[in-house]
C-alpha cells in the first residue's frame, strides 16, 4: 500500500493548494469563477470537446445522462445535510425520493385512482411537502436513537416504502403508473418545451433547482443551524449542554434532507413520465450514500463530485463488454471496489471538508504505528 502513498499525498497537496487558493481569492473573483462554472454547466449538453470526446456517453443520449447526473447530485446534496452535516446515518434515503416521485405520479397521472390530473408544476410543492412530512414522521420517534440503530430504522423505512409501492393496488406495484405529465411550457413554435426527444430542458431545469438548493444549503451551513448540526455530529451531549436543542435540529436536518430527496423524485418522474416499484431498490440508497462518502461528506463540492460520479460512470461504461457482459451491469461491484479503495487511501473522501480532513488525518496518526 505504501507504494500508493505518493499518489495519495500528491492528491492531498493538490486539493489543499486549491482550497487555499480559493480561500485567498477576493470575493468578486470567487463569484466570477462560480459564474463561469455555471455557464460551463449550462452549455455542457451543447459543447463538443475536441480531443475529449470520450467524456460524452455513447450508448445513452448525452443530455439524458446529464439529467440523470443532475438528479443524483441533488440527492447527494440532500443526503449530505443528514449524513455529512448532522452526522446521522440514513440508509433509507431513497424512501424520500420515492415519496416525492409517487406523490407527483398519483396526483397527475390519468392512470391514478385519484383522477385529480393535476399539472406537474402544481404537484411538485405538494410532493416536497409530503416528503418533508414523511421525514418528520420518521424522525420524530427514531431520532432519539443514535448511530447504528438509526441506520437500521431508516433502512427499514426505505423497505417499507418499496414494499408498500410493490403491493398496494393504489400505487400499482410493478405495473407502474404511466402518463405522468412533463413540466409546463411551450417553445416559440408551439411545441412543448419539455418533450420526449430533447432531454436538455430537463437538465437545465434540474440545474436551476440544484443551484437554488445549493444556495439554501450554503446559507444554512453558515448560520447557527449549520453550527448546531456540526456540534451535534462532533459531540451530541456537549451540544445539548451548550443549549443546542439537539432533537429539534436533528429533525430539521431530516426534514430538509427528505424534502430535497422528494424534489429530486418529482424531477425524476417529470422526465420519465412513468414509475413503478422496482425503481426504488435499496441499492439506490446505498449508491447515493456511497457517492456522498466517496466525494467527501460534509463538503458541498465533494458531494457534488461524488453524486455526479456515481451517476456518470455507469452510463459512460454502458455498452463496453467485459467478459461478455455489459460493463454497466458491474456498477455495484465497481463502486464497492472504489469505496474500499477510498476507505483505504482517502477515508475523508476525494474533496473533504476542512474539518473532516483534519479529523481523519488525526485518526490516521492515531492508527498508524510509528515506524
Amino acid at each position: 500500500m505504501s507504494v500508493l502513498n505518493p499518489v495519495r499525498d500528491a492528491w492531498s497537496t493538490f486539493t489543499n493548494r486549491w482550497r487555499r487558493t480559493w480561500a485567498g481569492l477576493p470575493r468578486p473573483a470567487r463569484w466570477g469563477v462560480m459564474a463561469l462554472v455555471v455557464v460551463f454547466f449550462v452549455f455542457l449538453p451543447n459543447i463538443r470537446f475536441p480531443g475529449f470526446d470520450f467524456i460524452v456517453t455513447e450508448q445513452t443520449d448525452w443530455a439524458s445522462t446529464l439529467f440523470t447526473v443532475a438528479y443524483y447530485v441533488l440527492l447527494a446534496v440532500g443526503l449530505n445535510v443528514v449524513v455529512g452535516l448532522a452526522g446521522l446515518l440514513d440508509l433509507g434515503y431513497v424512501g424520500f425520493f420515492a415519496v416525492g416521485a409517487y406523490t407527483v405520479a398519483v396526483l397527475t397521472s390519468p392512470d391514478s385512482d385519484l383522477h385529480t390530473k393535476w399539472s406537474w408544476l402544481a404537484a411538485v410543492p405538494v410532493a416536497v411537502g409530503i416528503a418533508m412530512l414523511s421525514g418528520v414522521l420518521l424522525g420524530w420517534p427514531t431520532l432519539r436513537l443514535r448511530g447504528d440503530y438509526l441506520a437500521i430504522v431508516t433502512l427499514g423505512f426505505a423497505e417499507i416504502i418499496r414494499i408498500a409501492a410493490d403491493s398496494s393496488s393504489f400505487l400499482k406495484g410493478d405495473r407502474g403508473i404511466a402518463g405522468i405529465p412533463s413540466p409546463p411550457g411551450h417553445k416559440a413554435d408551439g411545441t412543448p418545451l419539455f418533450g420526449v426527444v430533447d432531454a436538455r430542458p430537463y437538465y437545465w431545469l434540474a440545474l436551476a433547482v440544484i443551484i437554488l438548493i445549493l444556495i439554501g444549503v450554503r446559507n444554512l451551513e453558515r448560520s447557527r443551524v449549520g453550527r448546531a448540526w456540526v456540534a451535534i455530529r462532533e459531540d451530541e451531549d456537549a451540544a445539548e449542554a451548550m443549549g443546542v436543542p439537539t432533537f429539534k435540529f436533528k429533525l430539521w436536518a431530516f426534514a430538509i434532507g427528505a424534502s430535497v430527496g422528494g424534489l429530486s423524485g418529482a424531477l425524476f418522474v417529470g422526465e420519465q413520465g412513468f414509475i413503478n416499484s422496482s425503481t426504488f431498490q435499496l441499492q439506490f440508497s446505498i449508491l447515493v450514500l456511497a457517492g456522498v462518502v466517496m466525494g467527501g461528506a460534509g463538503n458541498l463540492p465533494g458531494v457534488i463530485l461524488g453524486g455526479a460520479l456515481i451517476a456518470y460512470l455507469p452510463e459512460r461504461f454502458r455498452g463496453i463488454k467485459v467478459a461478455g457482459t455489459d460493463a454497466f451491469e458491474y456498477r455495484y461491484f465497481f463502486f464497492g471496489m472504489v469505496l474500499i479503495l477510498v476507505m483505504i487511501f482517502r477515508p475523508q473522501g476525494l474533496l473533504p471538508s476542512r474539518r473532516r480532513a483534519a479529523e481523519f488525518t488525526d485518526r490516521q496518526k492515531e492508527a498508524t504505528p510509528v515506524e
Binding site: 444554512l220 447557527r224 443551524v225 462532533e234 456537549a238 451540544a239 445539548e240 443549549g243 443546542v244 430539521w252
Partner: protein, 282 residues
Amino acid sequence: MSDATLTDAQPSGPGASAPRALLEVDDVVLKFGGVTALNHVSFTLHEGEILGLIGPNGAGKTTCFNVMTGVYKPTSGQVRFAGAPLAKQTRNEITRMGIARTFQNIRLFPEMTALENVQVGADARHRTSVPGALFRITPRHYKEEKAGRERGRELLELVGIADRMNETARNLPYGYQRRLEIARALATEPKLLCLDEPAAGFNPAEKANLMELIRTIRDRGYTVLLIEHDMRLVMGVTDRIVVLEFGKKIAEGLPAEIRDNPAVIAAYLGTSDEDEEPDDVA
C-alpha cells in the same frame, strides 16, 4: 457539625447584604439501582459567590453536578434554580435557563475553530429560525451572527486565548482547550457557571492564572460552582465550600472552617488508629 444549617430556602441570617439563593439543592437523593450516589444532599448557592464542591474520589461531586445540570433526575428531593424547580426541562432548556457547565474530560467540538465553539454557546441565546437562516431575509440573522462573533471574540480575550481563535479546537494546546471550555460555557450567558475540575492537569503557574480568571468571572457578576481536587486552589478562590463523602454532605462552611474540620480531614486523609473517631458526622 454543619449539617442542615441551610435547608431553609430563605436565609434569614445576619443581613449586611442578605444573599439571595440562586440554586438550591434540597434533600436530593439519587439512586442507581442499589447504589445510592447522593444521599439527602442539601446546600444552597448564593448569587455572586464562588462555591467549592469538594470531596475524595467517588464522593458524588460530578453526580451532584449532573443532577444540577439536568443530566440525571433526582430519585427524590428537588433542585431549584432562581426559585423554579428543575424537573421536566431538557438539558438544553436548563442551559438556556442560565446554568452552564464545563466538562471534567474536555468535550469541545474538536473540528470547529475556537471561535466557532464559542459561537455555538452564544447561539443558545439566538432565535434565528431554520427558515430564517435558509432564506436570510430577516435582519435578525445578520445581527445575531455579528453579535455572536463579537461576543465570541470578547470571551476568548477574557480567557486569554484570542490569539488562536481560528484554529480548530483539536489543535489547541491543553491549557487553551480548558480555557476554551470556560469561554464556550460563558457564551451561553449563564447566571451560574459550573466548572468541573477546570485545573486538572495544570501546573502551579497555570493554576494561579486560572484562580485569577475565576475571580474575574465572579467579578463580572457570574455565580460560580467549582468542583476541584486541588485543595490550595479551592481554598484560595472559593467563598464557601461544601464537602461530600460517599454521597453525603459532611461539611459546609468558609474555607478556613473546612480546613480545620476533623470530618473533612478524616475523609481526605483517613483516621489514625489512635484518635479513633466516628466516621460520619450525623
